[in-house]
């Protein structure tokens, strides 16, 4: 079986996902186009050699709809022969796109594929694509649909994380992200977004609040009390009757930020690298996705990590760094608790609580972040992981060459 290698990765900075965010004026197709162009230009790619562009997007409607991957490839001036496809594994879409690219290479049916993703949350609001799970009453009722925030708070309640615990985690995420930015650890991979005149619109992650303190966070009101009272707490407890009541601990301050962004990862076989004269940076050892109980929704990371480790005949000890998307603080705390992972080994440069979570792109972003960090620390292996809507989990193991 051919191996799949990561040759490069690029991401946009993350802009606040609001009308006053820096990237609000940039269309999602433009954001994606700039990422594709950067990958091409940095590697002096002959795009005729590309077999596919696979992009994740979670709200693929309107200007993000109708297969943004193919249209971005055309728009970026890629060879007409480059096809594109868009996929949706919710929050892990960006990672799933990379896994899918790797799978094409591993199968021997493709040599060179771009995996990545995009989400302009300021322009295409989360949830605006509808979907049966939340909105078809019969389905929602019989499958015990509840929004993610309820699941996050349920995890905190069930596994004993207090408001102080989740806030402390958030403060640390901010501190680590700020340090990494200050020391220039993200510099190599973040591509400034330009306007149509070629002037820089944004060159850093805009959502960060590096000076956040516990006191600041303590002032924020829990975000999911209202949906809980409307009925979703009851729905969740009907699935988890062993919990007396849900303690709502998550706020905007200890949950991932809503942001705009795009990212791409160049994946190929060893042979194509030689042909192009580019050096592989890491091997994609394996990947896996799982489904778990959908109402609590966000406990997929541990089983997906266990599944991929088993598939790759590895154990936790073989992993140098863990990277788990900070959708909500309790998700990471629960993963650390379950797999007994010290905080020093996970999300070492912060995560989505500080920098934001552009849904379709995040998976590719965190993969790139941890690869950069492996190189900086000169360590070998990392396990990248995201909790995923509707109870899924997607994980990938990479190993430096």
């Amino acid at each position: 079986m051919p191996e799949a290698y990561i040759y490069d990765h690029v991401r946009s900075p993350r802009g606040k996902g609001r009308p006053n965010g820096a990237l609000h004026e940039i269309t999602p197709i433009e954001l994606t186009t700039q990422v594709l162009k950067a990958l091409r230009d940095r590697n002096e790619l002959d795009t005729r050699l590309l077999d596919d562009v696979v992009l994740g997007c979670v709200t693929p409607v309107g200007e993000q709809g109708a297969n943004i991957a193919r249209v971005a490839a055309i728009n970026a001036g890629y060879a007409q022969s480059v096809p594109g496809t868009q996929l949706n594994r919710f929050c892990a879409s960006g990672l799933e796109a990379v896994n899918s690219a790797a799978a094409q290479v591993m199968s021997g049916m493709s040599d060179l594929v771009i995996g990545g993703g995009v989400e302009s949350m300021s322009r295409v609001p989360m949830g605006s694509d509808g979907g049966a799970w939340g909105t078809d009453p019969w389905v929602a009722y019989h499958t015990y649909f509840a929004p993610q925030g309820i699941g996050a708070d349920l995890i905190a309640t069930k596994y004993g994380f207090s408001r102080e615990d989740v806030d402390a985690y958030a403060v640390e995420s901010q501190r680590r992200a700020a340090r990494a930015w200050k020391k220039g650890w993200f510099k190599h991979s973040v591509m400034p977004v330009k306007d149509s005149l070629g002037m820089t619109v944004l060159d850093h992650d805009e959502h960060m609040r590096p000076d956040t303190t516990m006191d600041d966070l303590a002032m924020l009101k829990p975000a999911f009390v209202m949906p809980g009272e409307i009925g979703f707490d009851s729905v969740a407890l009907q699935r988890y009757p062993e919990v007396e009541r849900i303690n709502h601990v998550h706020t905007g301050g200890n949950s991932s930020g809503i942001v705009d962004g795009a990212a791409g990862v160049l994946v190929g076989s060893k042979k194509i690298g030689r042909k192009l004269g580019i050096k592989p940076r890491a091997r994609i050892v394996g990947f896996a996705s799982i489904g778990s109980e959908p109402t609590i929704m966000l406990t997929g990371p541990a089983p997906s990590a266990q599944k991929v480790l088993k598939r790759c005949r590895m154990s936790k000890k073989d992993i140098d760094l863990f990277e788990l998307n900070e959708a909500f603080a309790s998700v990471v705390l629960r993963f650390m608790q379950q797999l007994d992972i010290p905080h020093d080994d996970i999300n070492v440069n912060g995560g989505a609580i500080a920098m934001g979570h552009p849904l379709g792109a995040t998976g590719a972003m965190v993969l790139g972040t941890v690869l950069d960090e492996l190189e900086r620390r000169d360590r070998a292996t990392a396990l990248v992981n995201l909790c995923v809507g509707a109870g899924m989990g997607t994980a990938t193991i990479i190993e430096r060459i």
């Binding site: 509808g130 019969w138 009722y141 409307i230 009925g231 009851s234 009907q238 062993e242 007396e244």
Partner: protein, 720 residues
């Protein structure tokens, strides 16, 4: 020409269809009426000289909906072949669809109450006019009997007034007055009562449109609908969460209504009606609606009308009522009796206590006045009927005396003797005991044949049930006349024979006992409480024990132990109660702490110390197992009560369980619950539970024999 509809065509070609079911006080949907309506529609449609038709009623109500007693047949028919069931369930809907598409304009002249199928007929008309009649209401109350409006209601109402206005009307089954209906757009025009037909005729003579708005090109549901409409999507998402919180997955009707509206409003009307008919058929085939109709409506109405009262006993009108003990129960009984027009002598050992008992009514009445539910003068008049006193002489002339003093044999004997000294020979003496056997208490009476138990539930003004307890010597006339009193105060009676705890307290005790037993086994208490609530019990077993207080539970157990001597067998929960009362000093809510803590500034929560006293077991049961234990033990004990003759009719068992202690209404009661499971399966499961959890789950030979015969408690409840 028709038996249920008067068909009149006038010279101008306007037909008036006047619905009038001769043998009924109100028009309801019957098979004959439905069939005749269909024929009348065809006649209108096929007659070239007919310009249009008016549908109205010959009674002071328009049409009150389905005939609940006739529903039984529908439930049975619906269990047949699914295709046949669907066809049958759709037939009325198709007739109404034929009416609205036949090309002739129809106008509904709503001259009174139009509920359920009544309103659905009107909605299928092209024009609706309602009379501003104070007693008239319009609504789709089907959800209350576990059904949905199955003749186009879930489709036409949202198309008429939008999702947001129509969903609550259908999900809560609330009705509205004609003026409100006009404001909402349910009817086109509101006219003074009596002018409905004239207004309908005027519309027909003017320029009537025989095409419904939803059949016109480009029709859109007002306010939007569909899976892509942001506001509609929000309505459905939030609405579904709200109903899941309420229905807890026990009641299939609300979600079926929601789904029917969601799916139906995306497609054209003919397809929409098919979708609605499928959901409707699904509900007819589900046991919940059948169980609810049987117990909550048909049998409850029978009980309210004293269907089993001995006919030859003269009716007793209680003009003067004595109540001994002005505590919580006595005060509540005084209130409901005064409300029913009775003069009430409210007696206690000191005047202040008696006055305080009257104060309870004063508070309730003041609240009624404040909320505009009662005129001030009426409240004053009612309050004036309650006479607080310390003197037994005041009891003279009472038709009935109810004692509501402490659950102590000596005190009860004492007040019985004192009261009987002044009471007339024919007066009835009733005890509101909830635990002490009536025949024993009757020994203190000079005339035990006029001694009876009337067990009220707290709070009396809210709880609908009275358990009438017949002692060894209680005469049939006493029973009949006690029932007259219960009917007069508008409560629902069940008649039970004497036994420790009678019927309701005895069975209810098995529920709390089972919950407490699980706590002692190390089952997570949150799981016990939630499993009970999610199964539809009003309150968890631990919470309700706190409410009635552990202290009282311990006193009752101690009294029973004393009474029964060697024959006494402690319940599995008793050691826990002893521990909480005697060792932990956590005696219940009234004492500020029990199984729960009651912080002043936050909702109550389970006492964290529970986990130390009864550490959680390693292996926790799943919620279904907990639910099964809690519900089965109550059903099994009810069957024992029927076997022992404590209750003599299955319907009393069911009514008592729902209205007495809050057994889940969707089950239809404890015995309908067994029928729904199937008696054979029920007995088999009880045997399994007995092996696992103890002999209290062991079914008796009587029940096993019954299961062997496959004999359900209701003829139409056979499922096994």
């Amino acid at each position: 020409m028709f038996a249920t509809i008067d068909y009149q065509k006038d010279a101008e070609g306007i037909v008036t269809l006047t619905i009038d079911l001769k043998d009924r006080s109100m028009n309801v949907l019957t098979p004959q009426f439905v069939s005749e309506l269909s024929q009348a529609i065809e006649q209108v449609a096929g007659d070239d000289t007919v310009k249009g038709a008016i549908i109205t009623s010959g009674k002071d109500s328009f049409l009150a909906g389905a005939d609940l007693k006739g529903l039984d047949e529908m439930f049975v028919a619906a269990t047949d072949d699914v295709a046949a069931a669907l066809e049958k369930a759709s037939s009325f809907s198709l007739i109404l669809r034929r009416m609205e598409t036949c090309g002739k304009p129809f106008a509904a002249a709503i001259n009174g109450m139009a509920l359920g199928g009544g309103l659905e007929i009107a909605l299928a008309c092209h024009y609706r006019v309602a009379g501003d009649n104070a007693r008239a209401v319009l609504g789709l109350p089907e959800v209350q009997v576990g059904l949905l409006p199955g003749a186009g209601g879930t489709q036409r109402l949202p198309r008429l007034i939008g999702l947001e206005a129509s969903l609550p009307l259908m999900l809560q089954g609330k009705h509205v007055a004609p003026a409100k209906a006009a404001e909402l757009g349910i009817v086109h025009k509101l006219v003074p009562a009596g002018e409905e037909v004239a207004a309908a005729r005027a519309w027909l003579k003017d320029s009537p449109d025989a095409e419904q708005p939803w059949d016109k090109q480009g029709f859109k549901v007002p306010g939007g609908a569909g899976a892509m409409h942001p506001k509609a999507v929000q309505t459905f998402m939030v609405g579904t969460a709200m109903l899941a919180k309420e229905a807890r997955h026990n009641y299939p009707a609300p979600i079926s209504i929601m789904a029917s509206v969601f799916e139906g409003t995306i497609v054209p009307m003919d397809t929409a009606l098919k979708i609605e008919a499928r959901y409707f058929t699904g509900l007819l085939r589900d046991p919940v609606s059948h169980n609810m109709v049987r117990t909550l409506f048909v049998n409850k109405q029978k009980a309210d009308k004293l269907a089993y009262r001995a006919a030859d006993v003269p009716r007793l009108e209680v003009n003067r009522l004595g109540i001994l003990g002005a505590g919580m129960m006595g005060a509540g009984i005084a209130y409901v009796s005064a409300m029913a027009g009775q003069q009430v002598v409210l007696l206690d050992t000191d005047q202040a206590a008696a006055e305080k008992g009257k104060g309870y009514s004063e508070g309730l009445l003041a609240k009624g006045v404040e909320r505009g539910k009662m005129a001030e003068s009426k409240a004053t008049e009612i309050l004036a009927r309650i006479h607080p006193t310390v003197s037994y002489d005041e009891l003279e002339g009472c038709d009935l005396v109810i004692e509501a003093v402490f659950e102590n044999r000596e005190i009860k004997a004492d007040v019985t003797a004192k009261a009987e000294r002044v009471l007339g020979e024919q007066a009835i003496f009733a005890s509101n005991t909830s635990t002490l056997p009536i025949s024993g208490l009757a020994q203190a009476s000079r005339r035990p044949e006029r001694f009876i138990g009337l067990h009220f539930f707290s709070p009396v003004d809210k709880m609908p049930l009275v358990e009438v307890i017949v002692g060894d010597k209680t005469s049939e006339a006493t029973v009949a006349q006690a029932l007259d009193y219960v009917a007069a105060i508008r409560k629902t009676p069940i008649v039970v024979n004497d036994s420790r705890g009678f019927y309701t307290s005895r069975v209810f005790g098995t529920y709390t006992n089972e919950g407490i037993a699980m706590l002692a086994e190390g089952v997570n208490p949150a799981l016990i409480e939630n499993a009970a609530k999610f199964a539809g019990m009003a309150v968890g077993p631990l919470a309700v024990t706190d409410e009635v207080t552990l202290d009282l539970a311990w006193k009752v157990a101690s009294q029973t132990r004393k009474d029964m001597g060697d024959k006494y067998e402690a319940s599995v929960g008793e050691p826990v109660i002893r521990k909480f009362v005697e060792e932990l000093d956590r005696k219940g809510k009234r004492f500020g702490k029990g199984f729960y803590d009651y912080p002043a500034d936050a909702p109550k929560h389970l006492w964290p110390g529970l986990a130390e006293v009864y550490p959680h077991a390693e292996a926790q049961p799943d919620a279904d197992e907990v639910t099964q234990r809690l519900l089965y033990i109550q059903a099994l004990e009810t069957a024992r009560c029927l076997e022992e003759g404590v209750i003599t009719r299955a319907e009393d068992g069911d009514i008592g369980s729902i209205f007495g202690w809050g057994f889940p209404p969707y089950t239809g009661g404890t015995l309908s619950f067994i029928d729904t499971i199937g008696i054979r399966k029920f007995v088999k499961e009880c045997e399994r539970l007995a092996r696992r959890h103890g002999k209290r789950f062991r079914p008796s030979k009587w029940l096993k024999d019954r299961a062997k015969r496959g004999e359900p408690f209701y003829a139409s409840g056979a499922k096994s």
